[in-house]
Symmetry: C2
């Protein structure tokens, strides 16, 4: 993907990585983040209770699991909505075409 | 409505007005268009076969009826999609809130 990841997307990726426990460097490489950015996200994830420290480094907390479920539901919904918007634009283009194409009767 | 009407919306309004036959001035007042704009739309509607002349002035042609049906289906779809987008934005705001609100454990 060449598209920039959204903040929520990055958080979801971090949570997936720490699901089975992960150290800071492991998260950093897997999530493809700079050390500075990782530290910021990780601090925030700890602060809001998405992630908790464990013996292996960090792991996902129940609130993080809830976030992941809600996030995936949201992504599914968003993808469906984007597809719907595409179809709608096609429908609109057809309406415009109806209006701009000359009458087949050719009487005008 | 204070919102500007779209071109397709104006065309649909004109077609509704001429459904039972209507003269130019009648269409102009009912559709709330300047004479100049009405003439342009009416010419285009005649040219593409949405409207045909009749003894009462103008009336809707079969292609115009087809346009109206497709247009209303499109509007319904668009309204549903806009509602869906609103709900999605609320869902996204909830996800953001989950992330920014501090952990209830308060251990960090």
């Amino acid at each position: 993907l060449t598209k920039y990841r959204s903040r929520l997307q990055i958080i979801a990726e971090i949570l997936e990585i720490v699901r089975d426990g992960a150290k800071k460097t492991h998260i950093m490489y897997k999530a493809n983040l700079s050390y500075k950015l990782l530290c910021r996200y990780l601090d925030e994830c700890l602060g809001c209770g998405f992630v908790k420290p464990d013996k292996a480094g960090y792991t996902v907390a129940p609130k993080g699991e809830r976030f992941l479920r809600s996030f995936y539901a949201y992504v599914k919904r968003r993808d469906r909505a984007n597809k719907e918007l595409e179809l709608m634009n096609e429908e609109k283009a057809l309406l415009e075409k109806m209006y701009t194409s000359p009458s087949r009767g050719g009487k005008v």
